[in-house]
């Protein structure tokens, strides 16, 4: 609470700004320096999604973007079909929504969570299989 009050009244010092910029730039640097790790993470990520829904692997886009004060992972995953047997309670109706877009937000921070939709949902219609 005292911390909050202090933050409210004290303007951000330039060293705090420097620290914040450094943190972000290094995250971006480390991401670009570990391409194999990122590729593996993308594959794992897609595998997890694919456990629940049928996705169009060729059209998946996963990118990192700097947004305001955080680094975000934005994933655009076209869903072809929802598996009937996986998880969901109302297994009855087969969803024929071919153009679902999933937005994944990596490294979430308190501030970011408030924004409900971060990435523009690019609807990419794909014929349902």
């Amino acid at each position: 609470m005292i911390d909050w009050v202090r933050k409210f009244f004290a303007p951000t010092t330039s060293s705090q700004t420097a620290k914040e910029r450094l943190r972000l730039v290094l995250m971006t640097d480390h991401l670009s320096l570990a391409p194999e790790m990122i590729e593996q993470m993308k594959r794992d990520f897609i595998d997890v999604i694919a456990k629940y829904v049928e996705v169009d692997r060729d059209k998946i886009e996963i990118n990192f973007e700097q947004q305001d004060k955080a680094l975000a992972m934005l994933a655009n995953v076209p869903i072809l079909a929802v598996n009937r047997n996986s998880g969901g309670g109302d297994g009855g109706s087969k969803k024929e929504e071919p153009k679902a877009t999933e937005v994944a937000n990596a490294l979430p921070r308190r501030k970011r969570r408030k924004k409900s939709t971060v990435a523009p949902s690019t609807a990419s219609p794909a014929p349902a299989g």
Partner: protein, 281 residues
């Protein structure tokens, strides 16, 4: 490209196995050369034999900082290319006979250095000196690789700036674990840190997470001593000289208390306190 065997050194006694330390940073202008010169003097003042190699081929500077520019006759490429013996190229320091310099070539380029020969040269020098300290050029290209090849320890010099920390982070990544890099935070201005206008040592090292070898404050004295070509570590007293001597002691393995930088009180009341004999930290 044929392999050249290092010249056999005449063995008068059991050959030494001195330590080869590279001083690097990635970014230019953070004080690598000044650090090299001062650590050279500080280690030599402890009675160790020290050789400094200026690996910044094309931009020779270490001789200037040491005040030895008029004595340089040959350079590292002359030795690597077999034009002169190592002994002829070494420049002995004016102030301390334990300290020698192997200057960089000024009119040549970094890609003219044969990496393998450079490694062999450092190896050869380690048999004669307790410390071989290599002043690395800025950048992470061939000049960096040539400077690093013969070393097995690294000291990274970082100023409290976003760009410098970023570059050190990159260099540490390139060095890998073999060099066990240690950190010197250079040009710190404690008064600015106190006001929140400069990254603190803790801020810097929260990101780099390296063993902290020392902290050097940004003092006008360093500029003056560099102007004169008489590194500040030639002195025995004073905060900055002591900081360099403490780093040398730490390098040598002495148990020296953790590095700190005193905040100089420059406020009116601080000065008043000093005048009236208030003991200040």
């Amino acid at each position: 490209m044929h392999e050249v065997q290092p010249e056999p050194v005449p063995v008068t006694q059991t050959p030494k196995r001195g330590r080869a330390i590279v001083i690097t940073s990635g970014k230019g202008g953070v004080g690598k050369t000044t650090t090299t010169a001062n650590l050279g003097h500080a280690l030599a003042a402890r009675g160790c034999s020290v050789a400094l190699i200026d690996a910044d081929v094309g931009l020779r500077n270490l001789d200037i900082v040491l005040g030895l520019e008029s004595r340089v006759k040959h350079h590292v490429l002359d030795v690597l290319e077999g034009k002169v013996e190592l002994e002829e190229a070494l420049v002995r320091d004016k102030h301390n006979e334990n300290l020698v310099l192997l200057a960089a070539a000024q009119t040549r380029e970094k890609d003219e250095v044969d990496t393998e020969k450079m490694k062999a040269l450092v190896e050869q020098m380690r048999e004669r000196f307790d410390y071989v300290i290599i002043d690395c050029p800025a950048g992470i290209e061939l000049g960096f690789k040539n400077a690093v090849i013969g070393a097995d320890e690294a000291i990274v010099v970082c100023t409290p700036e976003v760009s410098a920390v970023r570059d050190v982070d990159r260099v540490v990544g390139l060095l890998g674990n073999r060099f066990r890099p240690q950190l010197i935070v250079n040009r710190l201005r404690p008064a600015l840190v106190k006001k929140g206008k400069m990254l603190s040592v803790e801020d810097v090292n929260a990101i780099l997470r390296l063993p902290l070898l020392g902290v050097i404050a940004d003092e006008p004295e360093i500029i003056i001593t560099t102007n004169r070509g008489e590194p500040i570590a030639l002195r025995r007293d004073g905060a900055t000289a002591s900081a360099y001597h403490a780093i040398a002691a730490r390098i040598a393995g002495d148990d020296v208390p953790a590095p700190t930088v005193e905040t100089k009180e420059t406020s009116f009341f601080g000065k008043l306190g000093a005048i009236f004999g208030g003991s200040k930290a």
